[in-house]
Amino acid sequence: MVRFDKVKLTYDNSGTLALDGVDLKVDEGEFVFLVGPSGSGKTSLMKLITGEVRADSGRVIVNDFDMMRIRRRKLPKMRRTLGVVFQDYRLIENMNVYDNVAFAMRVVGASSREIRRRVPYVLELVGLEGTEKRLPTELSGGEQQRVAIARALVNNPRMIVADEPTGNLDPVRSLELMLLFEKINEMGTTVLVVTHEKELVNAFAKRVITINDGHVISDGMDGYFSYEIQ
């Protein structure tokens, strides 16, 4: 669950207003696309959710954590309720597929037995069974992103946030990946996907929040086009 109330964010070094009074709410179990041109504030919004930056004013609630008041020490606990997926996958290159996923479980102190049980299950869920021993560099882009998704999923987070997850993939792989996100959402996890790929968004009848110049300019089921009408 994510809730923003009148959130303002400026960047210290440049003084640029990144978000200017943003209100939004994503409920438990929803699938939401967050769209907008580059520089519109999408990434800033993501960073507020993951706790990488703190808003100047307003209220940010993520999975019941008050992000305006959260202590640095508590951030790890908050982040464990999130699964984060990036455009550039961010896998550890000298670890094989299995370890890249298992390592997220080790971080939260899971037992070896739990890890041995859970990792193969998640790898199968994302369609990567049989690749356990391979290194990320031996996989295609789509496969690497699936490893990243498996890693995001392995600790059973309440919400998956994906920042341009298909940015480096061809249209077919992109569609496959979105179908995977849809499947994950159907299993009960909230999914928030940041993207600027119109065709992809339009292929799914999902809620779309459009952001431009630090404002939410539309929010509804009518698809990506609402932002072009402006």
Binding site: R73, P76, R79, L82, R90, N94, F103, N155
Partner: protein
């Protein structure tokens, strides 16, 4: 599986991670160990030089004797027996380490041996007085010991070479001061070099650290492998540094030995070995762990 078993599991994992990292970053680990070693050897050499100079001066100090003359009465000369009876009182004075009695006849004989019989012609032994040659430690207590001797009943004049003593004290102080300053600078420089070496080593791992933070790793969890790594490299550097220092010292001792063995006697390495090993390991561990933790500090602020 219980909580404690889980913790143990995780601890084991983190320690394995530390070792894995040393292996996968072999070249950097090698550079780190070498730098710790080099710094320790330079520091150790300065310290050992200072120890040996101090030791040499101490030796010289021991040869610096106070002479206390036994006073004769106005008309009568004190018998040897009576003069000797003063010895316990002298020994009881603080800082006195050794007392040697020389009677007036022995003193005269010594002079005759030194100056030749002819020069001593017609001189009676009564010209000489009974005397005590006294060694003290520490030499800093020379003035007060001299005063205490002068206050001892039966003792007349006391001759002490205060100038020599002062010179020795001054040299020793200068040597110690120079050594301490040099070592302080070296420790600072080593820390700086170490921190930068490890920073270089961790630069490639900032991505890995960022990923760890993103999946909810605590700072402690991220830091521990670096602490283990620093600890192991520090112990390795300290241990190897100790062995190298040992070899170097033996080499110097052997090459000096043949040429100067009569004048300069080096302090045997073995008498200092446990202290040196402890200090080397200690400094190695501090530099290693401090360097490791310091180097990743910036990456943890996400």
């Amino acid at each position: 599986m219980g909580i404690s078993a889980m913790r143990f599991n995780r601890g084991g994992y983190l320690i394995r991670e530390g070792f894995r990292s040393i292996k996968t970053h072999g070249l950097m680990s090698f550079a780190t160990v070498t730098i710790i070693m080099a710094c320790l050897i330079i520091m150790g050499s300065v310290a050992l030089l200072s120890v040996n100079i101090s030791h040499l001066i101490k030796d010289l100090e021991k040869q610096n004797e106070i002479v206390a003359y036994v006073e004769d009465e106005d008309d009568t000369y004190i018998e040897e027996e009576a003069a000797r009876s003063l010895e316990p009182a002298i020994r009881a004075i603080p800082n006195v380490t050794n007392v040697r009695f020389v009677s007036r006849s022995e003193a005269m004989k010594n002079y005759m041996d030194k100056l030749g019989k002819e020069l001593m012609e017609g001189i009676d032994e009564t010209v000489f007085r009974h005397r005590f040659y006294i060694n003290i430690d520490p030499i800093e207590a020379l003035a007060e010991t001299k005063a205490a001797l002068e206050a001892t009943p039966g003792i007349g004049t006391v001759r002490a070479q205060q100038d020599y003593a002062n010179t020795f004290i001054r040299i020793r102080n200068i040597v110690t001061l120079v050594a301490v300053i040099l070592m302080a600078i070296l420790v600072f420089v080593s820390m700086f070099i170490m921190s930068n070496t490890i920073k270089l080593a961790t630069f490639s791992r900032r991505e890995e650290i960022a990923i760890m933070k993103m999946v909810g790793a605590s700072n402690g969890f991220i830091r521990l492998p670096f602490v283990v790594e620093g600890l192991v490299l520090g112990i390795l550097g300290g241990g190897l540094g100790f062995l190298a220092q040992w070899g170097l010292y033996e080499l110097v001792e052997n090459s000096l030995g043949s040429a100067l063995s009569d004048i300069v006697q080096l302090v045997p390495f073995m008498t200092m070995a446990p202290t040196i090993l402890a200090i080397f390991l200690g400094i190695g561990v501090v530099i290693g762990v401090f360097g490791g933790v310091n180097a990743i500090r910036n990456y943890l602020k996400v």
